[in-house]
């Protein structure tokens, strides 16, 4: 059984097709990458997977269960799949103490508060957070801590699938590694399926087993990252790879003379 399977997902926003017949399956206990430039539909796809966005057409199955937009279904789904938002710090309600946010999990799970507290202690420990963090408001802790708190909250639900949206966007290179290493650790220790959505090819190539490349709501190509990045079949994938600035390609700085140009991307 796949962790997530999507069949012919379609969604239009006015005149634009955000998703144009996307089908894919994400195997369990692996890391799956979704790569694409802005407007490719990758974020819409993520929101559809999370149940935050209804599709016009097509179906999504999470661990074999069809994704239904009822409150009961969402409640059940919360136990399987949790998101890590682009700016995890922003996913903490700004006017609630972190403890309140964590306690909400106990309410949802109908679990005794003590049990949740105990589990939280373990998780905080593992994420390298001090226990005192729970008495603070989100704006009182650092960005790095907030990212971890958000992840801890997701983990408290014991999900088997984590969906991370652009986890490194806006981070400096010196700190992005920290988050990526953390995701890698969780993935291994919790045996979870990790879905990473990113425009950063280099990162996806390293942390994912399988990946797809999206463009204009369609899947351009997909498969095992090794072959996908080594020998892409599609011109677009090749173009993406070629455009990736790389410190190892440093040669004499380019001159205009033979600059090849594709013109602007169309409207």
């Amino acid at each position: 059984m796949d962790a997530i399977s999507i069949n012919n997902a379609r969604l239009r926003f006015g005149e634009t097709a955000a998703l144009d017949g996307v089908s894919l399956s994400i195997p369990q206990n692996k890391c799956f990458g979704i790569v694409g430039e802005s407007g490719s539909g990758k974020t819409t796809l993520m929101r559809a997977i999370l149940g935050l966005q209804k599709l016009d057409q097509g179906d999504i199955r999470i661990l074999g269960n069809p994704l239904v937009h009822s409150r009961a279904a969402r409640k059940q789904r919360a136990n399987f799949i949790q998101p890590i938002f682009q700016d995890p710090a922003a996913s903490l309600s700004p006017r609630s103490r972190i403890r309140t946010l964590m306690n909400e999990v106990a309410t949802v799970l109908k679990e005794p508060l003590a049990t949740t507290d105990e589990r939280l202690r373990v998780i905080l420990n593992r994420l390298g957070l001090s226990q005192s963090v729970v008495d603070k408001y989100p704006h009182e802790i650092s960005g790095g801590q907030a990212r971890r708190v958000a992840i801890a909250r997701a983990l408290l639900m014991r999900p088997s699938i984590l969906v991370a949206d652009e986890p490194t966007a806006g981070l400096d290179v010196s700190v992005q590694g920290d988050l990526l290493n953390l995701l890698q650790d969780i993935r291994r220790s919790e045996k979870i399926t990790l879905v990473v959505i990113s425009h950063n090819l280099a990162i996806v190539r390293l942390i994912a087993e399988n990946a797809i490349v999206m463009r204009a709501g369609k899947v351009v190509e997909g498969g095992d990252v090794g072959s996908l990045f080594r020998s892409p079949r599609e011109a677009y994938t090749r173009e993406l790879l070629a455009a990736w600035p790389s410190i190892t390609q440093a040669g004499p700085p380019a001159r205009l003379v033979d600059v090849q140009d594709h013109g602007e991307l169309g409207l």
Binding site: S38, Q176, G177, Q184, A243, A250, A254, E264, L265
Partner: protein
């Protein structure tokens, strides 16, 4: 003719004290040269650009610094010191193309506005012709039509081309590109970088490329300066710096860069990423010693007390770094 900035220091007054955002930063760019100014967020790299242009925020103050452009010297501590150069000697390309054009005026109007300044005598028709020509040069299709369009009708890449066309029309001696591709997709980024280089080659100006991406710098720049917490830690030609980083920070920065062709484990969860531990120092109260001390992996006792000078690295006279380890005993 070289363009140089000497001893630039800028303070920001903040609610809880004064941040010394830039301290004694000096840069030198030759005509036709592309200098990459690299730094992470909070390093002060954009402040350099705005201090040069005289467009700093109201709470900022230039403490010291002179600029030499086209043989003329400008005292940057004076307000509007470089006002005369804006749109003539200096041009700038901004980070967010979505916001850097006025949404309620057509592209043509805004391009022609630049020409009012650059060639005051010209009539409307000439200006329109020149503007269309510039749009053509930055490879925007159908320039006549573009002139009548509003910014929101264009994609981000196209808008950035419009701003580049503005820079082209103003024929500057120094072009400052402040993170010009950060908001753009990688494929567009490559095109925009080529346009910037094309512009430099056309008018032979010096280019100051401000970016956080080492990839961009190594791929497109001649020279490189590394900025960290308001101080220039290293500078030199791209090749020299990459091959022989003089400062541990530079080296670690290169290490953190995730490369597209890096070797990977078959089990993806085995792949690890490099991190520079620790956090940026507080620039309101600069600690003594090396500014990078505390995050450095090769520091020694003196690093905490001695403020290192700018020492040459290797044999290249242009290559220098501020690290005590380079101090020749």
């Amino acid at each position: 003719m070289a363009i140089s900035v000497r001893n630039l220091s800028v303070d920001y007054s903040l609610p809880h004290g004064t941040a010394h955002a830039l301290r004694d930063v000096s840069l030198e760019i030759q005509k036709g040269e592309l200098l990459g100014l690299v730094g992470e967020s909070g390093s002060g790299k954009s402040t350099v650009a705005f201090a040069l242009m005289g467009l700093l925020a109201n709470n900022a103050k230039v403490i010291s610094g002179t600029a030499k452009i086209d043989g003329k010297s400008f005292d940057l501590t004076k307000p509007n010191a470089t006002a005369a150069l804006r749109g003539r000697g200096m041009a700038m390309i901004f980070q967010d193309p979505m916001l850097s054009l006025n949404p309620v005026f057509t592209v043509g109007t805004q391009l022609c506005e630049v020409l009012r300044r650059r060639s005051p005598g010209s009539d409307r028709k000439t200006r329109i012709g020149m503007a269309e020509d510039a749009l053509d040069k930055v490879k925007l299709s159908n320039p006549q039509r573009r002139m009548g369009q509003y910014p929101h009708e264009l994609s981000g890449g196209m808008r950035q081309r419009v701003v580049i066309a503005m820079a082209l029309l103003s024929e500057p001696a120094l072009l400052i590109a402040d993170e010009p591709t950060t908001a753009l997709d990688v494929t567009v980024e490559a095109q925009i970088m080529r346009e910037i280089i094309g512009l430099r080659d056309r008018i032979g100006c010096a280019v100051l490329l401000i970016t956080h991406s080492l990839g961009l710098v190594t791929e497109y720049c001649d020279k490189l300066s590394v900025l960290y917490a308001g101080e220039r830690l290293e500078s030199g030609t791209v090749n020299e710096v990459q091959q022989q980083p003089g400062h541990p920070y530079t080296r670690m920065l290169f290490d953190c860069e995730v490369q597209i062709d890096r070797e990977r484990h078959a089990d993806a969860s085995e792949n690890r990423f490099t991190v520079i531990a620790g956090e940026l120092p507080d620039t309101r109260q600069r600690p003594p010693g090396c500014i990078f001390n505390g995050r450095c992996d090769v520091s020694f006792a003196d690093c905490a007390v001695v403020d290192p000078g700018d020492y040459p690295v290797g044999n290249d006279t242009e290559h220098s770094a501020r690290c005590l380890r380079l101090e020749t005993p």
